[in-house]
């Protein structure tokens, strides 16, 4: 068997082995995100932060988790962390209209607090 045949086969096997792991991580993160949503809807924002932070650790590529975390940070008044989380969410899904809309609304508030001042 030549190298030209072996390399794609190995790549395929590695891909097949890794794919379920990634899928597992996303499934796990999705559960945490859903749990976070249910507690946020009851105004338990600190607990929501706990679940969404966990989700971003389990699956750092999950844009929804970063988006939700940004909203929770915003609600808690931690605007620097909110900005970082929104930017991460948009880096992962630059064309997601809902994340973009959330970020625009956030920026409006953030700009108001950092309005031009002197002294």
């Amino acid at each position: 068997m030549s190298m030209r045949t072996v390399v794609p086969i190995i790549t395929l096997l590695v891909g097949l082995a890794v794919a379920p792991l990634a899928a597992d991580a996303r499934d796990d993160a999705k559960k945490q995100v859903q749990f976070g949503i249910s507690v946020a809807q009851k105004s338990l924002w600190r607990e929501a932060i706990f679940w969404w932070e966990r989700a971003t650790k389990v699956d750092p590529t999950y844009a929804a988790a970063h988006n939700n975390l940004a909203i929770a940070y915003e609600h808690e008044g931690d605007l620097a962390k909110a900005r970082a989380a929104y930017e991460k969410a948009l880096e992962l899904e630059p064309n997601n209209a809902m994340i973009k809309q959330n970020y625009e609304l956030f920026k409006e508030i953030n700009d108001r607090t950092t309005r031009k001042t002197g002294q």
Binding site: Q34, A40, A64, H75, Q101, I109, Q119
Partner: protein
């Protein structure tokens, strides 16, 4: 169907499925905004008065002082001191005349921001503000400049126009043209002074504009309040924490 087409169709299907599976939930949030200035050392606030100019239809000094006092009374924990509004222009002119040993010059009309510059030295006069502070039990003092001026701008507007062709058929076409729109601008700064030392603690610049269509006739005072309404949240957020309500979308 070739293998390539099949692959393309399956990727498209997966994308559509993923989009359909994304759930979103609208949620209300309240963003707390910390005050920009620590006013813990003060129990009282004195909105002293403003250097004002622009249109003669609105007394920027009097109206701004009244409005800020009423806002602070309801939206701040500081006790608002009721006192006569300081005629800061006269104070500044007299201070300058005393320094130079000459009579104060006749007040020139204040039409634009740069006309205020000869008077602005009053804000740096720590002794004067300290004296005011002593008179009112060392409050936080709010002062500054207010320039409320008429504004006129040419703006591109689109309107519909009826046209008839050579056969007499009517058509409506959009026509874009420049139209002069009038309104007002409100510029200046709020200055927060420590009534114990006379030192400036914080300065907040502001600038807002409003333009109306030519058919609309809006009194100057209404425009002034419309523009001040936009500035008030920022002014209040300097002294007290605010909560801004909004809606966001949670994603799954």
């Amino acid at each position: 169907m070739t293998a390539r087409h099949a692959r393309l169709a399956s990727s498209l299907g997966a994308l559509l499925l993923a989009a359909a599976c994304t759930s979103s939930y609208e949620i209300q949030i309240e963003t707390p905004i910390r005050p920009k200035l620590d006013v813990g050392a003060f129990q009282r606030v004195l909105v002293a008065g403003f250097l004002a100019g622009g249109t003669e239809d609105v007394d920027g000094n009097l109206e701004t002082t009244r409005l800020l006092r009423s806002q602070l009374r309801t939206k701040s924990e500081l006790r608002v001191i009721d006192s006569d509004v300081l005629p800061l222009m006269d104070v500044a002119s007299e201070a300058k005349a005393t320094d130079s040993g000459q009579q104060p010059p006749a007040a020139a009309p204040i039409k634009e921001q740069k006309d205020l510059e000869p008077y602005e030295h009053v804000f740096a006069n720590a002794e004067y503000w300290k004296k005011i502070g002593e008179e009112y039990q060392q409050p936080l003092i709010v002062t500054g400049t207010v320039m409320f001026t008429p504004l006129s701008k040419n703006q591109l507007v689109q309107r519909e126009q009826e046209v008839y062709d050579s056969f007499g058929r009517r058509r409506v076409i959009p026509v874009r043209s420049y139209q002069e729109r009038k309104g007002f601008s409100l510029d200046g700064r709020f200055i927060f002074i420590d009534g114990r030392s006379g030192a400036t603690l914080h300065t907040e610049m502001f600038g807002e504009q409003v333009l109306y269509s030519p058919t609309q006739s809006t009194p100057a005072l209404s425009s002034y309040f419309e523009l001040m309404d936009r500035l008030i949240p920022s002014f209040l957020s300097t002294l007290s924490s605010q909560k801004i309500k909004g809606t966001r979308i949670l994603l799954q």
